[in-house]
Point group: C2
Chain length 352, copies 2
DNA sequence: AACACTTCGGAAAGCGCTCTCCAAGCCCGA
DNA sequence: TCGGGCTTGGAGAGCGCTTTCCGAAGTGTT
């Protein structure tokens, strides 16, 4: 037999602990101990075992290991979508939105270093949700990051009831004892209001997201409250669904209803891009005639022309933090429920 | 005991097949058969078993099942990145790019329906790659979708050597007997060339992506070839890295070197957005002074002003197709290696 | 009524691993 | 020299599931 790592031919049974043990002339238990670095093993045996591992080309079977350790080294990213159904185009929109990518990027920056993989799960129907929770209780994944979508989602409650370590990105719509990481959306909206008022805008409107998303609601509430504080009791509102096209439509509606408006706060950058287009179509200069403030500080913001003044939403950081929170929770399940709220900042550019 | 599904308290041992068998008064084997719908089981027993399942709140343990069936119901999406290292900011850029989201959306549209979950893996180092392949041989996932990044990646070859069902999105840089789904990038670039020439452009340049990405090379080659066919022997070239900012820089460079240019083909929309910005900064009208054609038809294209004339890259469809291809390959491992090439089309809008 | 043939359910052997016991060997002080 | 504590490695019992192998019924034919 040649020295060094043996190439295991395709199709042949893969070497198991038993095989390594046979080659090394020790018991299966000893090999397992060496590989997992448990207890003091005689240095001589130690080396013997590692040689046998190299010789056989042994790789531990994660599945078998997980079955007994109840640890998988996997975290599930679940996108729960209680309203749409299987072939709803909503999902396509969702993935295309930079939101998803930024979250994944933030999560991976932490998980990757810890050698944890991310399993993507989308659950729509009640049945899927039940199965997911069942799988999770069995330890299919060590924990869950939940991305909540429109509506009052039963999933967070199901997860906590099942005792599955979970962290939400964005607060739950209903009060549930679950860890979460969120942005102070209301503060962010207030920042936008302050900025528009400070600029001297007299008639300010808002383009909001769907009413049943907590983040969206908070932005509306925060904006209204701050505007009221500045003496603007009433804020014309039009709503969209976070897509650029919906922003364009909403802007058109606002222009019809409030031809005199000179400022608008848009609940996300994508819609703000649409609003910019509608304003141009209407011959309004930005920021000369109408000042526009977006939300998210996504890559779209600097791509816009004029570059978008927007509220920075440190999504990557938030996702990374939620991964850390989850990992801590997995390590210590008795950890008390906690939430982390990020403070947004205003990024002034050209549009306002 | 109450009728209906029993809520299993947290912390308590989860019901196993054995428990269900005890309640139903049959053997473990019978329960397994009923649950998996194998063979004819007496309808009476059948019902008895399902009742017991409901009563105990039993959910099969996927891990245990996978261990014996060697099927996991999971497909790995591996992003192989042979050049960057663990904390390379490259990854951040990658996830933020709409490319990633579109691929995931396309994959999920197929996988979700089949009840398959997607596990995201990022491999950078040699060691990670080896471990990944080891895990895959053990059936950690039923198959792999590979997203190849810059450079000559050893992963595709490793996967085929290991006999792991795999499909690449984008052709491999080196010839490897692996299934793949790709776009006829050269044809797409030729389309852009034809369009610019037909418009009457006399001095046409190109902003390309990194030289070591096959897709990027194909676009360069296709564009040059078609321009040559139209009598333009030489095409000024500047390269970027697919980000908007790099496109802006590349455009500035081109304007300096070729002040008289009246047309430019940009290898992706994001860079095209940057180019648009640079052109505006330079006081050039698009498409009046300079015609711009992008590539991808991403959501950024319609967001641009003027709206971008671009080459449509049906990435979602391609990803969906690769998922289907992979599933077929998993079902029938003897299936011959095949590739699917999509034909791009030109989407004329305002920029050219 | 006896036979071959099919249908159906149970026993039990794994899948590949971890980890608790336990026995054997060792060193040390008395 | 002997016993008590320590270290070390092996045997073996699972983790929860599938699936082969069999024997026990049930069916139909001559």
């Amino acid at each position: 037999m040649t020295a060094g790592t043996r190439r295991v031919p395709v199709g042949e049974r893969l070497p198991t602990l038993e095989d390594v043990a046979a080659v090394a002339g020790v018991s299966r238990a000893t090999v397992s101990r060496v590989i997992n670095g448990i207890r003091n093993v005689d240095p001589q045996l130690h080396e013997l075992v590692w040689n046998a591992v190299g010789q056989t080309g042994y790789v531990p079977n994660r599945l078998a290991r997980s079955l007994v350790t109840r640890r998988t080294g996997t975290v599930a990213l679940v996108v729960s979508d209680s309203e749409s159904h299987d072939d709803d185009p909503f999902m396509g929109r969702f993935f295309a939105d930079p939101y998803f990518g930024r979250v994944v990027g933030g999560l991976m920056s932490v998980l990757r270093a810890a050698g944890i993989q991310l399993a993507l799960q989308i659950v729509g129907t009640e049945e899927q949700r039940t199965r997911l929770v069942g799988d999770l209780r069995h330890g299919q994944a060590d924990g869950v990051i939940v991305l909540s979508l429109p509506g009052h989602d039963p999933l967070p409650r199901m997860l906590t009831d099942a005792g599955v370590p979970a962290v939400m990105i964005g607060r739950p719509a209903d009060p549930v004892p679950i860890n979460y990481v969120d942005l102070a959306n209301d503060t962010g909206a207030a920042l936008a209001a302050d900025h528009l008022v400070a600029r001297g805008c007299q008639l300010v409107a808002m383009i909001s997201g769907p009413a049943d998303v907590p983040a969206s609601n908070d932005r509306i509430a925060g904006f209204r409250r701050s505007m009221a504080r500045h003496g603007h009791a009433w804020v014309p509102l039009a709503s969209g669904n976070f897509t650029q096209e919906s922003g364009r439509r909403a802007m058109r509606t606002l222009l019809t209803e409030q031809p005199g408006l000179d400022g608008v706060f848009v609940a996300n950058d994508l819609m703000a891009l649409g609003a910019l287009l509608a304003l141009r179509d209407a011959g309004r200069d930005v920021p000369g005639d109408v000042a526009v403030v977006g939300f998210d500080d996504s890559s779209a913001a600097i791509a816009a022309s004029p570059a978008l003044t927007t509220v920075r939403h440190p999504l990557e950081d938030m996702a990374a933090e939620s991964a850390r929170l989850l990992m801590a929770r997995i390590e210590d399940p008795t950890m008390r429920i906690s939430s982390v709220i990020y403070e947004p900042t205003l990024v002034p550019r050209q549009s306002a």
